[in-house]
């Protein structure tokens, strides 16, 4: 599905990894559009290319082939500095492994993207508090990540992702390291953000959470397939 008002648009994107003379086709001919305010989930079995796709969407990695338009601007050939700037202003990341910086406090972790933006201290403080209040952790600003539970750490990661008011939130298995209670809490938080207008693209293989999205994109062996096709492929692989 491709529309002109797409926030993200991938045309024929492919990704090949070269390792010791072995070519691995992680993604092939990916065509994908995500509209502003849309909540998209990317599903598929392990090794199907979900994280690679998310990395390309988040400009953490570049495609080998194809075109990538982010908010109408070509993003596939940006240099490292340009990609960093776009990541900082347009994209918010939520990782499965939280990836908070252990030597920084909760406040400093959330503040980090804003410091890279060159924002003034007063505005940063306001944004950080606003963001932490949004995730219910305003009282934990001086704590270090290792003093928090897994669920709290992921909420800090969400706060860090939204503090810069990005165009899109990219979440890579955000509940993968959480128990069901904390996982549900984080998912509720994402839903609330979506209700408030946030665009979210989430990688998950948990069917409970993929159905919360407006739309689910199924990946299999690096290609987008229909839901039926995906189920058929899975059954063929696993067996009756």
């Amino acid at each position: 599905m491709m529309t002109d008002d797409a926030l993200i648009r991938l045309d024929g994107v492919g990704k090949v990894f070269l390792a010791e003379e072995v070519e691995t086709h992680a993604l092939s001919n990916i065509n994908l559009s995500i509209r502003s305010g849309e909540y998209v989930s990317i599903a598929g079995p392990s090794g199907c290319g979900k994280t690679t796709l998310l990395s390309i969407l988040g400009l953490l990695d570049g495609p080998t082939t194809g075109r990538y338009l982010l908010d109408g601007t070509p993003a596939e050939n940006l240099d490292a500095s340009q990609r960093a700037r776009v990541r900082n202003r347009a994209i918010g990341f939520i990782f499965q492994a939280f990836n908070l910086i252990g030597d920084l406090t909760v406040y400093e972790n959330v503040e980090l993207p804003l410091t890279y933006r060159g924002m003034g201290a007063a505005e940063r403080k306001e944004r950080v508090h606003e963001s932490l209040e949004r995730v219910g952790l305003a009282h934990r600003t001086r704590h270090y990540p290792n003093q928090l539970s897994g669920g709290q750490q992921q909420r800090v990661a969400v706060a860090r992702a939204i503090v810069g008011k990005p165009l899109i939130l990219l979440a890579d298995e955000p509940t993968g390291n959480l128990d069901s209670r904390n996982g549900s809490a984080v998912m509720r938080l994402l839903e609330e953000l979506h209700d408030d207008g946030a665009t979210i693209c989430m990688v998950t293989h948990d069917p409970r959470y993929s159905h919360l999205a407006d739309r689910t994109v199924h990946l299999f062996d690096g290609q987008i397939v229909s839901e039926d096709e995906a189920q058929r492929q899975v059954l063929e692989t696993v067996g009756p």
Partner: protein, 828 residues
């Protein structure tokens, strides 16, 4: 589980070692760095510790030398540095000491003999008292040693021509007399007279100092009042059960006993005692202590390098250890694995260290000065090797345990799923940072110390000595007393030699002297201005005495500051005159007019000498220390005991070798019986004397460079490793929008903080090293601050290079790869 343990215990070592070898093979860079660093460091340290152990700690390699003491006579008014004893002093000690027995004296002298090929040959001889061979008891390979019966009647109060018996060295017997069997009981020429050989010493026995001929030495009546001729070496054996302190108390008692009997200016004398070993090593001690400190620093660098290496390895292999733990590895298993790896590295390093150490010692042996090499041939000490290995193993074990400790405390799920980045770096980060700072500090200390020491040694060798030895040829003459019994005959002969040499077109100036600058020791006599009593406020001063003939100052290019040098008239019996050195002028006359003033020399108290000139001071007795105060007399005016040993020196437009040939022709043409020995250039003589300094310079430079290289490689590895450990965090920052510049700044700042943290410690340590060098080497005035600045620059440059690589790698890698794998893992 039990079965598994059993199997593991049975085949504990072989798979461990096999895996360790495999791992080393897979990581050639790491393996090379670890093994090479350890081998170089341990080899170097083993060599240095072996030297220090053999010289400073182990007994002297002279059989029977334990318990032998050397006695000296010190007179406060004559200054220090006189390590010999007067005849009266010796007699007082011999009669008064109760804790030392026997007490023996020897008087070294150079004499001539005629070998079997009828060639005159200079030999080192020693007049020894009868007690000498009771103290040192060589087993003669032929005949016997000297006994009391060999002494003849004393013709003078102290002389060397008593009796006709001599004991000769195996070396002289072999080299000069073809090891003929009938030498014992036969006679040889010695300084113009025939003496009987009573025995031949065993091979290698040549105490004191390479003696070839031992003569009887006896004292007449006047010896008991001669407190001023410091010509004897005195040795004795401390009685069993008595200590050095007991003996010193005893010697102090003897000095006290003679307090009122000793005339001025010798009153207040003392008899300091030292062990033979202490005397032999006292000059070497400062250099060895410095070397020891440097070696200790090198060992510290090795330990830090090793620790740093294991720390980095631990971080890089954290995931591997987590996997092993997840698969059931116990801390003991991990420890066994790391121990095996360390054992393999240490074994390889030890083998190479043996080779490195042996090579280092062979180099050291080849450049050691004679006075060291005649006593010690340095060999690799396995205790030293063991000690260095133990220290290195200890450091490796302590830091090797770190990864084990971490691995057993890891949140495995977190580590295996990439959650590591959320953990606060805490101890690990601090340990890394501390290692970087420590490496920086050590590198600065070592670099500064090595620089200053090398510069100091070079400064000693190249300092302005007050004269120019270049192009000066030297011939050393021993004038036989049967032909030249008085100073008048000697002077006449020397004047003829000078006249004949001067006739050569290649020679521009020629002179004779009894002392040469640097080559010969300072001291000799005391002086005072006339009218100044010895006990007045202006005390007598011990000075270097030199009797010269010909154009001495011109030949050596010694500048004249005031007045004139000696003229022909001064050599032919005119009123007694003297030239003094700048230092003596300052000490005696300060700013007063000096030319035309009189000076009294100790041996000639009733014959004041008119000062006619002031010359630039020259160094005596080695490179170190300021120029000695000196007084020069015309040779013919140096009345008294004939001087057996004279130098003839000449300068010209040709090379020193061709001028030396002219000197030989002149001397041999006048008297073939006067054997000019050791014909050489003054420069080469000084250079020979400078071998200890040259050796010290080379050794220090070599060790310094190696140590600095090790320290810099440590700085590189620690800095680089520290930044590699920051890669995951850099990945997170990159994902959050940090561009290449910000990442570069982030990593560079992290590295720089550690470097700057090490800087003050390095500077303080460096300055302490400079101070230590200046304390241990008097006269050292190395470029302390400049050295520290340059070394700091080098260290920071190295660290800068170490920062560049991980920074570039980080900037080039994709953020997700960094987050998941850091810099050590492969990108997906």
């Amino acid at each position: 589980m039990e079965a598994h343990r059993g199997i593991g215990a049975d085949s504990f070592m072989s798979p461990t070692i096999r895996n360790a070898l495999r791992r080393l093979k897979r990581n050639p860079g790491f393996s090379f760095f670890a093994v090479a660093t350890l081998a170089l460091g341990i080899g170097l340290n083993t060599a240095l510790f072996s030297v220090v152990h053999q010289v400073l700690i182990a007994p002297l390699p002279i059989p029977g030398s334990e318990g032998i003491l050397m006695l000296t006579q010190r007179n406060p008014r004559l200054g220090s540095g006189l390590n010999s004893v007067s005849p009266a002093g010796y007699l007082a000690l011999e009669q008064g000491l109760r804790t030392i027995d026997p007490v023996a004296a020897f008087q070294p002298i150079e004499l001539t003999t005629i070998d079997d090929e009828q060639q005159p040959r200079l030999v080192r001889a020693a007049g020894v008292t009868p007690s000498f061979f009771r103290l040192v008891t060589p087993r003669p390979i032929r005949g016997r040693t000297l006994t009391v019966e060999d002494l003849g009647p004393a013709r003078e109060y102290s002389s060397l021509d008593h009796g006709n018996a001599v004991f000769v060295s195996e070396r002289l017997w072999r080299e000069a007399f073809g090891a003929r069997e009938n030498l014992v009981g036969g006679s040889i020429h010695l300084d113009g007279r025939r003496v009987t050989v009573v025995g031949i010493a065993p091979e290698g026995f040549d105490f004191p100092l390479r003696t070839d001929v031992w003569l009887p030495l006896l004292f007449g009546d006047r010896a008991s009042v001669d407190w001023g001729s410091f010509r004897l070496g005195v040795v004795g054996r401390v009685q069993p059960g008595r200590s050095l302190a007991d003996a010193q108390v005893d010697a102090n008692g003897v000095a006290e006993l003679y307090r009122n009997a000793v005339p001025p200016p010798y009153e207040g004398m003392t008899f300091p005692l030292t062990t033979v070993k202490e005397r032999l090593v006292q000059d070497l001690r400062p250099n060895l202590v410095l070397l020891f400190v440097l070696a200790g620093l090198v060992l510290l660098v090795i330990c830090t390098n090793l620790a740093s290496l294991f720390l980095i390895t631990g971080v890089v292999r954290e995931r591997e250890f987590a996997i092993r733990v997840a698969n059931g590895a116990s801390p003991r298993d991990l420890l066994a694995q790391l121990t095996g790896e360390m054992a393999v590295i240490l074994s390889l390093a030890s083998i190479l260290a043996l080779a490195t150490g042996a090579f280092g010692l062979s180099v050291l042996n080849s450049i050691m000065p004679d006075r060291v090499s005649f006593l010690w041939s340095f060999r690799l000490d396995l205790w030293s090797l063991g000690f260095c290995l133990l220290i290195a193993t200890g450091a490796g074990a302590l830091t090797g345990l770190w990864p084990v400790r971490r691995a057993t405390r890891l949140d495995l799920t977190a580590r295996l799923t990439g959650l590591g980045a959320t953990r606060r770096s805490g101890g690990q980060g601090r340990a890394h940072a501390v290692f970087v700072a420590a490496q920086v500090a050590l590198a600065i200390v070592i670099g500064t110390a090595a620089w200053v020491l090398t510069a100091t040694y070079m400064q000693f060798r190249s300092a302005d000595r007050g004269f120019e030895p270049e192009g000066v040829a030297v011939a050393e003459l021993t004038l036989r007393r049967d032909r030249y019994p008085r100073i008048t005959e000697q002077n006449a002969f020397l004047q003829s030699v000078l006249d004949r040499t001067r006739a050569s077109r290649r020679v521009s100036s020629v002179a004779a002297a009894i002392r040469l600058p640097i080559v010969d020791m300072a001291g000799g006599i005391y002086v005072r201005p006339p009218g100044v009593e010895p006990d007045s406020e202006l005390e007598s001063i011990g000075v270097t005495f030199n009797a010269v003939a010909g154009a001495y100052f011109q030949t050596l290019s010694i500048d004249f500051l005031e007045g004139r040098g000696f003229e022909d008239l001064d050599y032919t019996g005119a009123p007694p005159v003297a030239v003094i050195s700048r230092e003596l002028r300052t000490m005696l006359f300060r700013d007063e007019e000096v030319i035309g003033r009189d000076l009294v020399l100790g041996p000639w108290p009733d014959q004041p000498r008119r000062i006619v000139g002031v010359a630039e001071g020259v160094a005596q007795g080695g490179y170190t220390g300021p120029p000695a105060p000196a007084v020069y007399l015309p040779y013919g005016q140096a009345e008294g005991q004939p001087l057996p040993h004279v130098y003839v020196i000449a300068r010209g437009g040709s090379s020193a070798d061709s001028i030396a040939a002219d000197l030989t022709d002149a001397i041999m043409g006048l008297d073939p019986g006067v054997a000019p020995s050791d014909l050489s250039s003054l420069e080469s003589r000084i250079s020979r004397l400078g071998r200890p300094w040259a050796a010290a310079t080379w050794v220090t430079t070599l060790i310094g460079l190696l140590a600095l290289g090790l320290a810099l490689s440590g700085v590189y590895a620690a800095t680089s490793g520290f930044l590699v450990a920051q890669a995951s965090e850099a990945g997170v920052r990159s994902a959050l929008g940090a561009g290449p510049l910000r990442l570069t700044w982030f990593l560079s700042r992290r590295g720089a903080i550690c470097l700057v943290a090490g800087l003050p410690f390095g500077l303080v340590g460096g300055m302490a090293a400079v101070r230590l060098a200046q304390t241990a080497l008097p006269g050292a005035d190395g470029p302390g601050m400049e050295a520290a600045v340059v070394v700091c620059g080098t260290v920071f440059l190295t660290a800068g290079i170490a920062i560049i690589r991980p920074v570039l790698s980080t900037v080039r890698r994709d953020a997700m790869g960094l987050i998941q794998h850091g810099l050590s893992g492969r990108s997906a």
